[in-house]
């Protein structure tokens, strides 16, 4: 039962993710490199960390989505393996078409680094099992391109299928996220054959212990590791 944390050139939250899972949660972690063609054989869950993979060349996450390790992550996700993408990791999952939609530049053109209040809209589902449905939590964000968008039909489908994972509580008059303009205030979505893929812009690893001012994020990491244990059991 091991969580693989993938490092791309330009990832800068990979060691934070390792720290949160290994030290705060006390669960086994293995590092994985973008050029690897396979995930380590012990892998039961995957984390794609935040950062600026490949310098955000072309579009955030576009180059990383084509790296060798992502073919392995896609096979893992398609088989029902739990995958969590945080910030740039979320952008990579969208670019790899493992999750619907795209992340545009924030509506005000600014990079926002602050705490935000969220609703765990799909609390109780899959990796979000440790949360109550619509539980309110606070997590930090740090992004310039977190303005989630998709066409209306996709947004309607996400809502109808209960695949909006997280929403920003603060919204503008049009119902979009106040902090970045995200359509319908969507901060994170679910995907994969069994809602086993989660992407979100906020950073759960930065709220993974009292020394990091809270444990709201630790719940999500616990959900990831637990989903990994369930996945391993089903495939034993």
């Amino acid at each position: 039962m091991t969580t693989a944390v993938v490092t791309f050139p330009g990832s800068n939250c990979d060691r934070d993710c390792v720290h949160a899972v290994r030290d705060a949660l006390g669960a086994p972690v293995v590092r994985s490199w973008h050029k690897d063609h396979e995930l380590p054989s012990s892998t039961t869950s995957v984390m794609l960390p935040g950062g600026f993979s490949y310098g955000d060349y072309l579009r955030c996450g576009a180059m990383a989505a084509l790296s060798p390790i992502m073919a392995a992550v896609k096979r893992f996700a398609d088989a029902g393996g739990p995958v969590l993408g945080i910030c740039n990791g979320f952008q990579i999952l969208c670019e790899a078409r493992l999750l619907p939609g795209a992340l545009l530049r924030n509506h005000d053109g600014l990079f926002h680094c602050q705490d935000v209040e969220l609703e765990v809209s799909a609390g109780g589902v899959g990796l979000l099992a440790p949360f109550d449905r619509r539980q309110r939590i606070a997590l930090p964000i740090a992004h310039g391109e977190g303005n989630y968008t998709a066409d209306e039909a996709t947004l309607d489908r996400l809502e109808a299928e209960g695949r909006v994972a997280f929403r920003y509580l603060a919204r503008d008059a049009a119902g979009n996220g106040l902090v970045n303009g995200a359509r319908r205030a969507i901060a994170g979505v679910l995907g994969g054959p069994a809602n086993n893929v989660v992407g979100l812009m906020p950073h759960p690893e930065r709220r993974s212990g009292a020394h990091l001012h809270g444990t709201d994020g630790l719940l999500l990491l616990r959900g990831l590791v637990a989903a990994g244990a369930g996945f391993a059991e089903a495939h034993a």
């Binding site: 579009r59 795209a102 545009l104 530049r105 924030n106 509506h107 053109g109 968008t149 998709a150 066409d151």
Partner: protein, 79 residues
Amino acid sequence: MRARVIVRLKPAVLDPQGEAVERALLGLGFSGVKNVRVGKLIELDVDGDAGLVKAELSAMADKLLANPVIEDYQVEVSG
């Protein structure tokens, strides 16, 4: 053969970069400026006849150069 792929944000997609450039241009005194949109121009050399190259460029745009969720593209081939 020299080719170009022009990638633009879809008309319905907000372009904060374009808005910032527009404000800067207005600040410089170019008072008639409006509707600034910032896109990307990708130039490349490709071998093959024009028809095939165009199809190949479209495939490149679909797979990598543009994101169909937010962007439109146009391919041009010259000599």
